[in-house]
């Protein structure tokens, strides 16, 4: 137990203390920020395989929260709990409470479609549909039954501008989304995710398949999107987490080890494991 971080040094078995310290980091960047997402003792298992153990944390509104940790630590799985993408996998069981703006995601009467509209997602590999750029962006709106051309046009331009892609594609909206470069495709996917005006955008390693310049653009984009959306991102790139996120959560073997303000986690980690991980001793 490292003596220099008493606030986060609660023993793993004493849940009460840990919740207290982890949930309320001493000073959040925006004092007015509410909690967009509240997780309470979330457990998840695939069949016999227990993947997430008692995750309890609050994610602040209009902040960027980064999940870090070695491969297989459950951070992507947790991210997918936040818009119930795990429902698509057979044999997944989730217990505990996940609340988005006070709404319990796993309550029996929750509409999954509605949840996913409120919580958008961007994936590791850019996955535009084999349709035109325009149709890619307005896909979610069409799904929602919007047919009015001017509404769609407006949403398309707004989303592409927000995704910093408008200037590059405004003259070729009819071309296939697959004709774009990798970085552009990923920004197209971000535009598609924000076109339906979600409250939260989940990003699952959005830059892992991109070159450094494209990565930089996405990072800038994440930074600007923070103004309007709550962003939760999973990343393997620690520098990236340090650059873009306000809060950082470190996971290890399906457990939340440490959660706090990014500068603190990186400069004064409270746990030995966190320190070992961010200094590159494992992972």
């Amino acid at each position: 137990m490292p003596p220099h971080a008493p606030a986060l040094a609660a023993p793993p078995d004493s849940k009460d203390v840990r919740i207290h310290t982890a949930v309320r980091p001493r000073d959040t960047p925006r004092e007015a920020a509410l909690n967009a997402i509240e997780l309470r003792e979330v457990n998840l298992s695939y069949g016999e395989n227990h993947v997430l153990h008692d995750i309890t944390m609050d994610i602040g509104e209009k902040q960027v929260t980064a999940f870090i940790g070695p491969s297989g630590c459950g951070k992507s799985t947790l991210l997918r709990c936040l818009n119930r993408m795990n429902d698509l996998i057979d044999g997944v069981r989730v217990s505990g409470g996940v609340k988005v703006k006070g709404q319990d995601l796993y309550a029996p009467d929750t509409d999954v479609i509605e949840v996913r509209r409120r919580v958008g997602m961007v994936f590791q590999k850019s996955n535009p549909f084999p349709k035109s750029i325009y149709e890619n962006v307005v896909y979610g709106l069409r799904i929602a039954g919007i047919r009015d051309r001017s509404t769609l046009d407006e949403a398309c331009e707004r989303s592409l501008r927000a995704a910093a892609l408008w200037d590059e594609v405004k003259d070729r909206l009819d071309e296939s989304g697959l004709s774009l470069s990798g970085g552009q495709q990923q920004r197209l996917c971000i535009a598609r995710a924000i076109a339906v005006e979600p409250e939260i955008v989940l990003m699952d390693e959005p830059c892992s398949a991109l070159d450094p310049i494209a990565t930089l653009k996405i990072e800038e984009l994440i930074y600007s999107l923070k103004e309007r959306y709550t962003i939760v991102t999973v990343t393997h790139n620690l520098q990236q987490a340090a650059r873009v996120s306000d809060m950082t959560a470190f996971f290890w073997l399906g457990k939340l080890i440490e959660y706090g303000k990014t500068p603190e986690v990186f400069t004064r980690p409270g746990e030995k494991l966190t320190e070992d991980y961010i200094t590159g001793r494992f992972g």
Binding site: I113, R116, F123, N127, F129, P130, I143, R192, A195
Partner: protein, 561 residues
Amino acid sequence: MTGQRATPRVGATHASPLRRLLQRGDPFVWLTGSALGICLLMIAGLVAIVLTKGLGFFWPGQLLQVALTDGRVFLGEVVTRETIPDPDRPDRRPRHRIQLHVGNRDLYGADFKWIDEDDIARSGYPLDALYVERREYGPLLATPQLVKRGEQTLAQGAGAATQMLDGLVRQAARDRQAISQIEKGEIGAINYEIERLRLRTRRLELLAAREPGRDVSAARAVIDQAATTAQRRYQGKQQELEGVVAAASSTYVTFVTAEGAHKELRALDLFRAYAANRLSWWARARIYFARLWEFLSGEPRESNTEGGVFPAIFGTVMMVILMSLMAVPFGVVAALYLREYARQGLLVRLVRIAVNNLAGVPSIVFGVFGLGFFIYTVGGSIDRWFFSESLPTPTFGTGGILWASLTLALLTVPVVIVAAEEALAAVPRSMREASYATGATKFQTILRVVLPAAAPGILTGLILAMARGAGEVAPLMITGVVKLAPELPLDAHFPFFHLDRKFMHLGFHIYDVGFQSPNVEAAKPMVYATTLLLLLIVVLLNLTAILVRNRLRKKFQTSAF
């Protein structure tokens, strides 16, 4: 040498050359290469045989006249030349014989004649010998001598008669068309009307029998009135037809064969006549294409061994299209359930195995099922409920293009299911997730993302299904194919698509002409030509589907493929 021995490579020094060869895998390359080569050779050989025999059939050859030592004379096209097998005296100089297509079946009784080359005294190519295609008995190979209309002589002597012949053939074609116009068009329409009136009468009778109190006499009177009018019109047309036939039948041409036999032929029965040994290459080419066109667009005559195969082409294409329209939606929907909705467990695995095995069931079994279920059960019920007035003549309770297509759809649906399932499975997970993440339901995702992306693979299934369906004959023979269908399943009479009608099919045509016709030897080239046509149609249908698939592929290409 010593340097080499100083650094021995492990294994290399001990392995025999053969073993080293096997390890390197060269023989494996030869094996795979030659397997492919043999396959290609067999396919190329098949196509080459069908192509030469099928296309050569229409080429007008020269007519050889041979005078034998015993005084007999024959005129005909040389079909083949072969060595006479003589096993008793293998050392002797080999003797040859030629096969002549002498035609004139009505005079000789057979179309072909084998002639030993040793028996030939003289041979030559007579310029005035004509090759005459006619309505019956195969071709007539002879020289025209006399043209008469009634008792009046129009031309006498080979030269004058030959000159007149072209005009007579053209006139005969016009007359035949006029007759067919009256017979099939006008009289056909009246017949159709009379039949409908008869059915209405019958329906009234049935109604009266069911409800004894009902008065149907007024309706009866109207129908009877119409029937009488139709009957009168029918008789008028019949008289007109007889007049036209009589006028056209008055002209006769008398031919003299090489042997000196006389044959009188009605001008109306002439289809084509040409002086085979006088033709330029250009004229031959014209006849070639005229015959080819007749083959593709004409109706069959002489129990299918001559004329065209248009009804069979039409039947084949229409049946394949109907089959695809039924098999593809059905197969895709079934595959969607299996792949997207069903819980992947033992039951689904069993269903999948069953579907795969269904593709291996002998096609005749499907035919029998089609006969028993579709025709007798479903068709019989339809007849009882909707067409009771025409019973005991069945409408849907007998073979027809609908039932044949349904049977074939059943036969090919496993292929579509398997292909569609694979196509659905190949749609990348990331694309589905992208759709779900924007708030799409499963149904919306399938409709807007999965199905379009799987469309090329589904079309592959369609291509396989069409290839199998178009070539299938056995199940059709008991579900609606006939040797000669008087009417196409699509015509100008309401409701235009007559799915209850029997139809002709190229595959069955091959079987029928090749094995069931009275004159198999003469019909052999026709079999090749029909085979070639069937192959071409299958290729064309597939090519269309492949083009559509490639366009879709380009459109829905994903980075994952």
